[in-house]
């Protein structure tokens, strides 16, 4: 699904300075866009607004044909059809891998659920780990479970917050290419946040550069990063 953000401004309660200032971004269906910027530039905040986890923003956000944020509208996060992989994955520690992935499939029948979980485990290459608890997995494996969990309900778009920040640098390179494969297979509009240029080069079609809450550049990877 395409995503359209217009004049988005956001203040955290009690802060005088806006965390996001007048952001305008348009993203095509199936595109992989990176949000790049230093720590504290507002990257996570932007994702949380798209996801609906923050709701006091002014401006407009549309996902597909659906206006999820506007002057008189706010769609709850659980109704937006958006998937998200959190910075520290947030896998439910009391559920096995299987149950984590199935958590977003509550509308399916048991049989459909089983099938979908199996598909997702295949997609991320973790079939043997279905019955493990998150803490029994390595960092890279946890990250793939988080990805599988977010993709399982077939979201219209996928948000990734610093997907590699918790991994060793060797692993980062390997996972980057895996992630690219998975995203291409899943064919989902993706926004991912990073502060690493290499991530942007390896994965993104376009990049939006944030600085102190403002969008300073938006465009093709090499142009925008130079």
């Amino acid at each position: 699904m395409n995503i359209k953000i217009e004049k988005l401004t956001f203040y955290y309660p009690g802060n005088k300075k806006p965390a996001l200032k007048d952001i305008n971004i348009e993203i095509e269906e199936g595109e992989i866009v990176s949000i790049f910027g230093e720590s504290g530039s507002g990257k996570s905040t932007l994702l949380r607004l798209i996801a609906g986890l923050e709701h006091k923003g002014s401006g407009v956000i549309e996902i597909g044909k659906n206006r999820v944020l506007g002057p008189n509208s706010f769609v709850l996060p659980e109704k937006r059809g958006v998937g998200m992989v959190f910075q520290d994955y947030a896998l439910f520690p009391n559920m096995k891998v299987e149950k984590n992935i199935a958590f977003g499939l509550s509308k399916m029948s048991i049989g459909e659920k089983k099938k979908r979980v199996k598909e997702m485990l295949e997609l991320v290459n973790l079939e043997p780990y279905a019955n493990k608890y998150p803490y029994e997995l390595s960092g890279g494996q946890q990250q793939r479970v988080a990805l599988a969990r977010a993709l399982a309900p077939a979201p219209g778009c996928l948000l990734l917050d610093e997907p590699f920040s918790n991994l060793d640098s060797d692993l980062q390179v390997k996972i980057r290419s895996e992630l690219k494969d998975i995203l291409l297979k899943a064919q989902v509009t993706t926004i991912f946040v990073t502060h690493d240029r290499e991530d942007v080069r390896a994965l993104a079609d376009r990049v939006a550069v944030l600085k102190e809450g403002s969008l300073v550049k938006m465009g093709k990877v090499e142009e925008a990063l130079s």
């Binding site: 309660p13 996801a51 609906g52 986890l53 709701h55 008189n72 509208s73 706010f74 769609v75 709850l76 996060p77 659980e78 109704k79 958006v82 998937g83 998200m84 959190f86 520290d88 947030a90 439910f92 520690p93 009391n94 958590f103 977003g104 509550s106 509308k107 803490y135 969990r149 977010a150 309900p153």
Partner: protein
């Protein structure tokens, strides 16, 4: 869907907060009435004593409990000596004996016919002179209260030392400081916030104490409040005394805030390595073990031994159907109070976690309030409030309960349970709030991103992850309710007894040995609760290391 929908949690939190502070309105209104003659007399002659006695009791108890609590915590977390592992948890056990039971037991043991005097007479041919050795005195009350409250300081400080201060202590060692030097120069300053938190708990408990002071004949605020109301029927003076006591408490809370500084004593999440303990040898090891043993003996083993001995003498008369009824009464009042408290606690803590705004902060503060309010004040507040409530509801009673006596709610258990909820909500709320803090928001957010609404997220994600916090909150509230005396004594419906009130009644009739069976039942139930709690907390700590 509109932006600002008043949520369930906000609405429910507001109702609970109003329920919690509303009763105090009555109390404050009464203060503006013209004082009666009795009050003039109290103000002129007695108030000085009440203030003096209360301050002396609070001050010396706090000091003694601090000395015992800190030295034990330091000993257990920095040294290795015979039986250390055992003492580590056993030193919490004095908390299982309510201070009034400790008081009755020691008083009876030290009396002319008690075990202490009899033994001395048979050994030395002469007893101690009661003029110099009288436990039913101010020093005796300090002794009893500090023994039974010292575990608060010990537990908070031990947790702190085993946790984040370890690296600082290690630093101190590297810099070549002696152990005592480290204790005074490093441990005491960094654990200031923990020390203040523990001490203020002890002080609040002393201010709330009724059982020890009244039995030992010491006139404190709490005993004076009860006496004005129930012996003299002077409600007005009781309310005024309660108001003055509340001023004390507010000053104390203010002091606590200043002394604690900006650091809160809760653990940060930084990784910490456990403190490596120094092994004690020879005389030092014997000294350490003896010190811990003496405290455990005085605070738990001796009184429990004496109670057991009495129980063996009296159980034929006291361990019958009645003991079962008492235990059941006690347990179900505790369980119902704890359940209500947990539900209220979950609502307010969740609101504060999800919104984190000005209003939610106020609600959190209100939930914590009750624990600072001494039992005597809570009792008066609740009675006044319920009597007014009953008057107000009288027309309704006429319709639905024709022929009922005027005071329906005030004469029922609702009054007592309401008072427990008001007083101990803080205990449950803090556990739950701590639990939510540990979980954070991320699982909640993740669940919403996977299409689950507020209700489904709560039952599928929050509640299961909150289980350890709920369990410890539940246990803590139950322990407090089971041990509690003054509220039960005053607010119980006619003919309703709990273990605690039965102990008090026996003691008041000078039938201390007969009190031993209900006393031991309290100690057993509470000790079991404490041990369960200790286990879950340790397990949780291990789990955190695993993650």
């Amino acid at each position: 869907m509109l932006k600002r929908k008043p949520g369930f949690y906000g609405f429910a939190s507001t109702i609970i907060a109003i329920l919690l502070i509303f009763p105090f309105g009555d109390l404050i209104l009464q203060l503006f009435e013209k004082p009666n003659e009795n009050w003039m007399e109290i103000k002129e002659f007695l108030l000085k004593d009440y203030i003096g006695n209360t301050l002396i009791l609070v001050f010396f108890t706090a000091i003694l409990a601090l000395i015992i609590g800190t030295t034990l915590a330091w000993l257990i977390s920095a040294y290795d000596f015979p039986l250390r592992k055992f003492f580590r948890w056993a030193l919490i056990l004095p908390l299982a004996i309510p201070s009034y039971i400790l008081a009755y037991t020691y008083a009876a043991m030290a009396s002319y016919t008690g075990v202490v005097q009899v033994t001395l007479r048979s050994l030395l041919g002469t007893g101690l002179d009661q003029r110099y050795f009288n436990i039913m005195s101010m020093p005796g009350a300090v002794f009893v209260l500090s023994l039974s409250l010292m575990p608060y300081i010990y537990m908070i400080l031990r947790a702190f030392m085993e946790g984040q201060s370890a690296s600082l202590i290690e630093c101190g060692r590297m810099l070549g400081k002696s152990h005592l030097g480290i204790f005074l120069k490093v441990v005491v300053p960094v654990s200031r916030a923990a020390l203040v938190a523990g001490t203020s708990l002890v002080v609040l408990e002393v201010l709330s104490d009724y059982g020890v002071a009244s039995y030992f004949g010491i006139q404190t605020f709490s005993t004076a409040i009860f006496r004005s109301w129930f012996s003299l029927g002077d409600i007005d003076s009781a309310i005024r005394l309660a108001a003055i006591l509340m001023v004390f408490v507010l000053v104390l809370l203010f002091l606590e805030k200043i002394l604690r500084g900006r650091r809160s004593y809760s653990m940060t999440n930084t990784k910490h390595c456990p403190l490596s303990r120094k092994k004690l040898r020879g005389p030092m090891a014997i000294l350490a073990t003896s010190y811990a043993s003496i405290i455990l003996l005085l605070g738990f083993l001796i009184p429990v031994g004496q109670l057991t001995y009495w129980a063996i003498l009296t159980y034929k008369d006291t361990l019958g159907v009645e003991a079962w009824v008492l235990s059941l009464n006690t347990l179900w009042v505790a369980v119902i109070s704890a359940i209500i408290i947990l539900v209220f606690g979950i609502i307010i803590a969740n609101y504060s976690r999800l919104k984190n705004n000005f209003l939610s902060k106020i609600y959190s503060k209100i939930s914590l309030l009750g624990y600072s309010i001494p039992g005597a004040v809570v009792a008066i507040t609740m009675i006044l409030f319920f009597i007014h409530l009953d008057r107000w509801l009288a027309p309704l009673y006429k319709i639905i309960l024709p022929g009922a006596p005027g005071l329906v709610l005030s004469m029922s258990l609702v009054l007592l349970i309401g008072a427990y909820v008001l007083r101990f909500l803080a205990v449950g709320f803090q556990s739950i709030d701590g639990g939510f803090e540990r979980i954070g928001r991320k699982y909640h957010d993740a669940s919403k991103m996977l299409g689950h609404g507020e209700v489904s997220t709560f039952f599928k994600i929050d509640l299961p992850m909150l289980k350890p916090a709920l369990l410890s909150g539940f246990t803590l509230v139950c322990i407090d309710v089971i041990k509690e005396l003054p509220l039960a004594l005053i607010l119980r419906p006619f003919n309703f007894n709990t273990l605690a009130t039965r102990v008090f009644d026996y003691a008041n009739d000078e039938r201390i040995p007969e009190a031993s069976v209900p006393s031991l039942l309290i100690v057993l139930i509470v000790a079991a609760g404490i041990l369960i709690l200790n286990k879950t907390l340790d397990k949780e700590k291990n789990n955190e290391h695993k993650n």
